[in-house]
């Protein structure tokens, strides 16, 4: 039973559910500027799917599915992308929202009749949705990396 994960019921349900959790997480990231949520929350949801996999299948089940080096590199890419988005507006000031309301094709739409409820305009928000994506990538890979390292690292110690 060592390092084989949990019972067959849990493993079967996990197989059905973890894809749905990941999709839901990406939805939360994608609509961060319109609905509750955002990069951090969505990233945490996606990372919870990885944690579920880890619990259900054990650290042996992760082999071939997730590569730690990839996770680490992707996290750094997410952080660098976030910083680069901050640098975009340096012509005016650091973190200046360059695209908001500019009419450009990258989330440049502006909200008609501001200050009143509306159904939500997906293409508005300037750099905010882009930052959501960068932070989402960073958080999902970062938390997944921490969980995997801590579990695998302490398992290795028990085996020794």
């Amino acid at each position: 039973m060592k390092d084989q994960g949990m019972s067959v019921i849990v493993r079967t349900i996990t197989r059905f559910v973890y894809g749905l959790i990941i999709v839901f997480g990406f939805y939360v990231i994608m609509h961060g500027h319109l609905t509750p949520g955002g990069g951090f929350q969505g990233g945490a949801v996606v990372a919870s799917a990885f944690a579920l996999l880890l619990v259900a299948f054990g650290s042996a089940g992760l082999k071939g599915r997730i590569n730690l080096h990839w996770l680490q590199s992707l996290e750094e890419v997410g952080a660098l992308a976030f910083l680069a988005l901050g640098f975009l507006g340096i012509g005016t000031a650091f973190f200046y929202n360059l695209f908001a309301g500019s009419g450009g094709f990258l989330f440049g739409a502006s909200v008609p009749n501001p200050g009143h409820p509306n159904p939500g305009i997906f293409t508005a928000g300037g750099t905010v949705p882009l930052m959501n994506w960068a932070v989402g990538l960073k958080v999902m890979t970062g938390i997944a990396a921490v969980v995997i390292i801590m579990l695998v690292g302490s398992r290795k110690e028990e085996a020794e």
Partner: protein, 116 residues
């Protein structure tokens, strides 16, 4: 005592529980739990600061027209401090793992190489 401020009292109570754990428990993991409890109390305090009676969440998508909204800043601050709390907890737990690996115990009375 003022019953209208019950949410603040609950937040302070969480901080008090955390302080108790920090002062009177002798296990490294329990110390981490104490710190997390204080963190939770502070986060709860922050987010309750922004509540306006009858206010809706500050999101305009399909919101009711002309409703009062709760304050957005405390929510943003709480989001930040939750992530910071997650990060500190992760590092504290890793240190606890390594202290256990070296000393073979989590009892603070036995982890005392550095003294004086």
């Amino acid at each position: 005592m003022n019953i209208g401020n019950l949410p603040f009292v609950v937040a302070a109570l969480l901080v008090v529980f955390g302080l108790y754990t920090l002062l009177f428990k002798r296990n490294l993991i329990k110390l981490v739990i104490g710190i997390t409890l204080i963190e939770t109390g502070v986060n709860l305090f922050l987010v309750t600061l922004g509540y306006r009676t009858g206010g809706i969440s500050p999101i305009y998508t399909y919101a009711p027209e002309a409703q009062q909204m709760v304050l957005p800043t405390p929510q943003a601050l709480t989001l930040t401090s939750i992530v910071i709390g997650l990060a500190t907890t992760a590092l504290l737990l890793s240190f606890a793992v390594f202290v256990h690996r070296h000393y073979g115990t989590l009892d603070v009375r036995k982890v005392k190489e550095l003294k004086g």
